[in-house]
Symmetry: C2
Subunit: 401 residues, 2 copies
């Protein structure tokens, strides 16, 4: 049994090993082999730390459109093996969309080298797609060629308070149609989350803290002041339409960082242990009702359960933090199972997913059937058996054979 | 043996049937089931004609970011089965990037229904990726959910004459960095192609017709005059830097269509039969040298061979039209093989692909090894055998088992 280690920052227990397992660390395969500034691509080994790669390509005025909280320790190989998401998916897609070429070592030691750098290549099955996001169960990612973009010249950020979820979706539609592809983030914080983080961090809230919802909107543009002007016009329109009740536009990188800190630094929410983190996705029009359903379910599990929510809602992705309240330790884990049921079961009806970006790992495999039909899971097992017939690679991750 | 028919507009003989084959036509599965104007997605059956879908979503101020010459007769199912490309790939990617959900009928009659509409879903292997672009050999695409974008409000188009290939790549880099994601087309015509089409169609060339290269640049924007202003600034900068020698900016939809007609309507090139059409891709920095190599090779095959080239070069994709000159009919097909060798063999060294967007079909399968290693082809066959053990679906397409 072979378990591969990247930066070990995964959130779904996907690279946990047992005492008798062989662990392969890719830590020393950390070369950035080539930055192709004409073709806008970079050739990397799997062990490169994401942040190191971001910095290196920036030296050539290029931009890697992948960013996530674990940037300082996660590796590119792990990002590919788990099809990582992050904060720019609304504009650039998941890691899958950035992988031009891939080198994979198979369970029998054979090497699949598809290290091409073209955007377009329809010569037979696109094999790399099968390995991206397979969580170490089909092959070992060793090298890759990733797509780059030209560095953008300016970034503008606003924080807006919104009165209802319906207005949140209206503001999203308006933002998409006015900002087009310059819209790179549309992050929603529920009011409880916003207040818990601002109070817990002891930071001054830049807008009135009593609203129902807070949206962080960010744009990237390449065109002097024009990008900001378009963004400002959107905000003025949204205010005059009543979609935005209160707001602030970052006037400096310092102010931008203060706004992002409220979204990123959920440390205050983790203080009262235990806290269970969830990563679900669903059609955006079902989100509001879904959260109500979860909230009601949690109340029936524990009278003092606490739910905090934020999400990359432009991508249909919510992160839920649940503190189950008192009584957890006494129940020996039964509470956790009941909390999971509250979060996952309502996804069946609305055709949601138990994992938007974190993956299934070992942690969620018993909930896989919420997102995937029996035929889909049977096909996954067929593929696993044909590529890894001895079940060597990361057995027990995603599903049990 | 089962062959599936969509619009039968493929360019690689991928849906050719033999007298004893069973043909499945999806012509009557042509419902557009739902346009989701909040979630920006559309639920369609496989037999929907691409142009009908484009028109339908436009009624809801939405935009399907897929367009190609066969729009009036190709079907969405065929577009997915072949991972179609087209004229907007530089901005929106191939069809693969637009498929949120997919329903597939397997060779044993089982149905894989992954009809989810979220941008993010990492719950297990992303099975649909394996079927997209598999050219009817692994399953039958019956329904899909495709991603939509808000309709853009303006489109601007320019035609620029450029003196050298190096300047073509410089202009591309400048365009990408100045225009960002509003750049939707960057189409290059070699001078010979440009002159053959304008002369053959009897149209007045909007710019001097004696230049080496002609680039069609198009942008989409959502923001009044600002988009055009940014585009004009780019063009002025490129002219003052000497990258553009001559140019025209379309002042009306009529003028825009006249420019596109030169790029699209290659009928004059097809007049002298036979003409072989090729669809190759390669790293952009190798393109110029590659075309020189092909030209030299063709000259050794036939003294009067004619080569015309245009391409979606922002995507690394070139289309070559070769008229082998006199003597073809006499040689009984040998000339064609020699022409194919001239076009495909030089791709090995530069790590190019024998098919950027048309697919392998039956036509190119003997050249598959130029683009793919023995291990890659072996893996394709492993997958084919595990999903279609009786080799029922489109046997003999992509490879022979």
């Amino acid at each position: 049994r072979v378990v591969v280690h990247g930066g070990r920052t995964g959130c779904a227990a996907g690279s946990v090993s047992e005492p008798t397992d062989i662990v392969i660390s890719l830590e020393r395969m950390n070369a950035i082999e080539e930055v192709d500034s004409i073709g806008h691509a970079v050739v990397v080994q799997a062990g490169v730390i994401l942040e190191a790669l971001q910095s290196r390509v920036a030296e050539d005025d290029l931009f890697l459109p992948l960013d996530l909280g674990a940037r300082g320790s996660c590796t590119v190989g792990g990002n590919i093996a788990t099809n990582a998401g992050g904060v720019n998916v609304i504009r650039y897609g998941m890691v899958r969309n950035l992988v031009l070429g891939l080198e994979i070592v198979l369970p029998d030691g054979g090497v699949i080298s598809s290290m091409k750098r073209m955007l377009k290549d329809n010569s037979g099955y696109d094999l790399k797609q099968l390995f991206i996001g397979s969580e170490g169960t089909l092959g070992v990612v060793t090298r890759a060629i990733l797509k780059l973009e030209p560095a953008f010249s300016r970034r503008d950020t606003a924080l807006a308070a919104v009165a209802s979820f319906k207005d949140v979706t209206r503001l999203l539609s308006l933002s998409k149609s006015r900002l087009g592809a310059s819209l790179t983030s549309y992050e929603l914080m529920w009011g409880d989350y916003y207040r818990a983080v601002t109070t817990g961090l002891g930071v001054r809230s830049p807008v009135d803290a009593t609203h129902e919802f807070y949206v962080l909107i960010e744009t990237e543009s390449c065109d002097g002041e024009a990008g900001r002007d378009i963004f400002m016009e959107l905000l003025e329109k949204a205010i005059s339409d009543g979609l935005i009740k209160d707001g602030v536009f970052a006037q400096s990188e310092q102010e931008r960082r203060e706004i992002w800190r409220i979204r990123d630094d959920f440390e205050p929410i983790l203080r009262e242990k235990p806290v269970y983190l969830f990563d679900v996705s669903m059609p955006i029009q079902t989100m509001d009702r879904y959260i109500d359903t979860v909230r009601r379910g949690l109340a029936s599990v524990s009278r003092d359960a606490i739910l905090h929510v934020f999400g990359h809602i432009g991508d249909g992705n919510l992160h839920l933090f649940v503190h189950p309240g008192a009584g957890e330790i006494a129940s020996g884990g039964e509470t956790r199972k009941r909390v999971e049921a509250c979060v996952y079961e309502p996804l069946r009806e609305i055709e949601g997913s138990v994992s938007a970006e974190h993956g299934i790992g070992r942690e969620k495999k018993r909930w896989l059937s919420v997102s995937r039909s029996a035929n889909e899971i049977a096909m996954m097992k067929t593929l696993k058996r044909s590529i890894d017939p001895k079940n060597i690679l990361n057995p027990g991750v995603v599903f049990d054979l």
